[in-house]
């Protein structure tokens, strides 16, 4: 399964005047829904008696994420270490992950999340599947493997679609596929004994075109909310409600 080490979106500092974003002090985390994906992958791997490899592509700081992923149930982790300062878009990320999956041999199933907390692009999984030449099944909320057949329930807006395909396959999952339990102390301690490997991206032998971003970022501006923030915290509930209704009436938003 593929997980991404990202900055916590709630801790980005935005300069209200210039809208410049400072992510340097934001904590890093495994992308929220990737934690559900780890759990779904753990269950799926268990059901077919396979090893679960956690795969991430990111800067040196993603090392901390490796420990977290191992604690969450990954049997072994591979960290493809990105060159510092090189920007990876979906094109680069998919090429790197595909090259690493090919190096692993005997992979039956790769799980990605529908979207990551930072990009939420719904891009990496299907791109990766296409590069591997495998069937792709996206937006899955239920997943079973029997023999060489994968059966999955996809969420398509208000519809649920059940599909089947043969392995190997690339599946993207929605968070409802599994809960994301917080690892207990034993799992955290046990993680230290599990194997992990760091692979410099250069070792994958990819051509320059595959590791050069197709897009260039020319601007990145934070969002600044312009709201009044009238706080109604003190006094009896009825007083707060009266103050609120008076305010809403003045704003002209009650019918």
């Amino acid at each position: 399964m593929c997980f991404k080490w990202v900055a916590a979106e709630g801790e980005l500092r935005v300069d209200p005047a210039t809208r410049a974003v400072d992510a340097s002090s934001a904590r890093r985390k495994i992308s929220d829904y990737d934690r559900n994906t780890i759990e779904a992958a753990r269950v799926a791997a268990g059901s077919i008696g396979s090893e679960l490899v956690g795969l991430t592509f990111g800067g040196p700081d993603a090392r901390t994420g490796i420990k977290d992923a191992l604690a969450r149930g990954v049997d072994r982790a591979v960290h493809v270490v990105a060159d510092e300062g090189a920007r990876a878009d979906g094109h680069v990320t998919a090429h790197v992950l595909a090259a690493q999956v090919r190096r692993l041999e005997d992979v039956d199933l790769v799980l990605c999340t529908e979207g990551a907390s930072d990009t939420y692009a719904h891009e990496t999984g299907p791109r990766l599947g296409e590069l591997l030449g495998w069937p792709v099944v996206t937006n899955v909320r239920e997943l079973t493997v029997e023999g060489r057949t994968l059966r999955a329930v996809r969420v398509l807006g208000a519809d649920l679609e059940t599909v089947e395909c043969d392995l190997p396959a690339l599946v993207t999952v929605v968070p409802e596929v599994a809960p994301a339990p917080i690892p207990g102390l034993r799992s955290v301690l046990g993680a230290a004994k599990k194997p992990s490997e760091q692979v410099p991206v250069a070792d994958l032998g990819l051509p320059a075109g595959a590791v050069t971003a197709r897009t260039t970022v020319t601007s990145f501006l934070g969002y600044v909310a312009a709201r009044r923030r009238v706080v109604l915290a003190d006094g009896a509930a009825q007083d707060k409600v009266d103050a609120l209704v008076a305010g809403l009436a003045q704003d002209g938003v009650l019918r």
């Binding site: 979106e9 709630g10 980005l12 935005v14 974003v21 878009d89 979906g90 094109h91 998919a94 907390s117 930072d118 939420y120 692009a121 719904h122 891009e123 990496t124 299907p126 791109r127 296409e130 069937p135 792709v136 099944v137 059966r151 969420v155 398509l156 807006g157 208000a158 649920l160 599909v163 395909c165 043969d166 968070p175 409802e176 075109g209 197709r214 897009t215 260039t216 970022v217 020319t218 601007s219 501006l221 934070g222 969002y223 709201r227 009044r228 923030r229 009238v230 109604l232 915290a233 509930a237 707060k240 409600v241 609120l244 209704v245 305010g247 809403l248 704003d251 002209g252 009650l254 019918r255």
Partner: protein, 308 residues
């Protein structure tokens, strides 16, 4: 410049995209699946409509290689794809086959004077906006509701049918509809939004009563719909749900993570009711009511009714 190609499995969305594309290029080709869709799309004023035809009734995702092949053969600059679940997959896989740029859910697309392209998209679920540029072929997905589908009077684009091979490795076993409410939150003037802080089954009546007093639609956060199944999924607001622009949004027991709040950014007035004074929702509120929704909501419903 060989024009923009447009694809969506949903003909209405394809028609919207044709309008978007017409503002960016003189030549717009709409690609669709099946003759029925082509009939709607010939009225969009597009330069041409290309129907991909295959035996049987393949799922739209089965046409990925055919679509990429068409783009390559015709030297297309840009493919716009409707950003549905199917469109996300089709767009990303076509981009992989073309080894091209992809911008997912772009809000603004610009043709730069030097032949390059630029698009804006949201990052960190609404925490930031990123502008990206690229040259050479590219794929951009565009969410529904970004443009109005304009029928061009008297227009009848030539239709070309292309027989293609499809990928049948993924087989559809069944398709069922989940509960639908038929609600159109996007046009609601007032919205009462139920969060996990007010999501016990008995609590829905409280929210429903307030919505009734305010003449509002009931909406919710993602976990209320997807985890609890308390309300239909069309009722959840956020980056992966509905985008609303009401006069009034009232959040009940909503923590206010950006993935949710991005969905009502354009609301005129935002009210939060939450027991936790540090709830992130309060940072994006006009009125922050600190208190228990079980207590506040009935009082609020009564106070609103008292004005009628």
């Amino acid at each position: 410049m060989t024009g923009i190609y447009v694809f969506s499995e949903d003909p209405r969305l394809a028609a919207e995209l044709a309008t978007t594309a017409a503002a960016l290029a003189d030549e717009v080709h709409v690609v669709c699946l099946g003759a029925d869709a082509s009939r709607t799309l010939t009225a969009t004023g597009a330069t041409s409509v290309v129907v991909l035809e295959a035996a049987g009734a393949p799922r739209p995702e089965a046409y990925v290689a055919a679509l990429a092949g068409l783009m390559r053969d015709r030297g297309a600059d840009l493919l716009l794809v409707g950003a549905t679940v199917t469109g996300w997959e089709v767009g990303a896989r076509v981009a992989a086959l073309l080894d091209s740029a992809l911008v997912s859910e772009a809000s603004v697309i610009t043709a730069l004077p030097d032949g390059a392209w630029q698009a804006e998209r949201v990052m960190y679920a609404g925490g930031a906006v990123q502008t990206e540029t690229w040259s050479g072929p590219g794929v951009v997905t565009v969410a529904p509701g970004r443009a109005v589908a304009a029928a061009v009077p008297g227009s009848a684009s030539p239709v070309e049918v292309v027989a293609v091979d499809v990928d049948t490795r993924v087989r559809v076993v069944s398709r069922t509809a989940r509960v639908r409410s038929g609600v159109d939150l996007a046009s609601a003037a007032r919205v009462v939004c139920v969060g996990m802080g007010l999501a016990e089954p008995g609590d829905l009546a409280l929210a429903g009563d307030l919505a009734d007093a305010l003449d509002a639609e009931v909406a919710c956060t993602r976990p209320v719909a997807e985890d609890r199944g308390l309300l239909p999924t069309e009722r959840y607001i956020g980056i992966s749900g509905a985008h609303v622009h009401p006069d009034l949004y009232v959040g009940l027991g909503v923590s206010g993570q950006v993935q949710h709040t991005v969905g009502f950014r354009d609301a005129k007035v935002v009210v939060g009711i939450n027991t936790n004074p540090a709830a992130p929702l309060f940072a994006v509120c006009d009125y922050a009511v600190v208190g228990d929704a079980h207590e506040i909501v009935p009082l609020l419903a009564a106070a609103v009714r008292a004005r009628h």
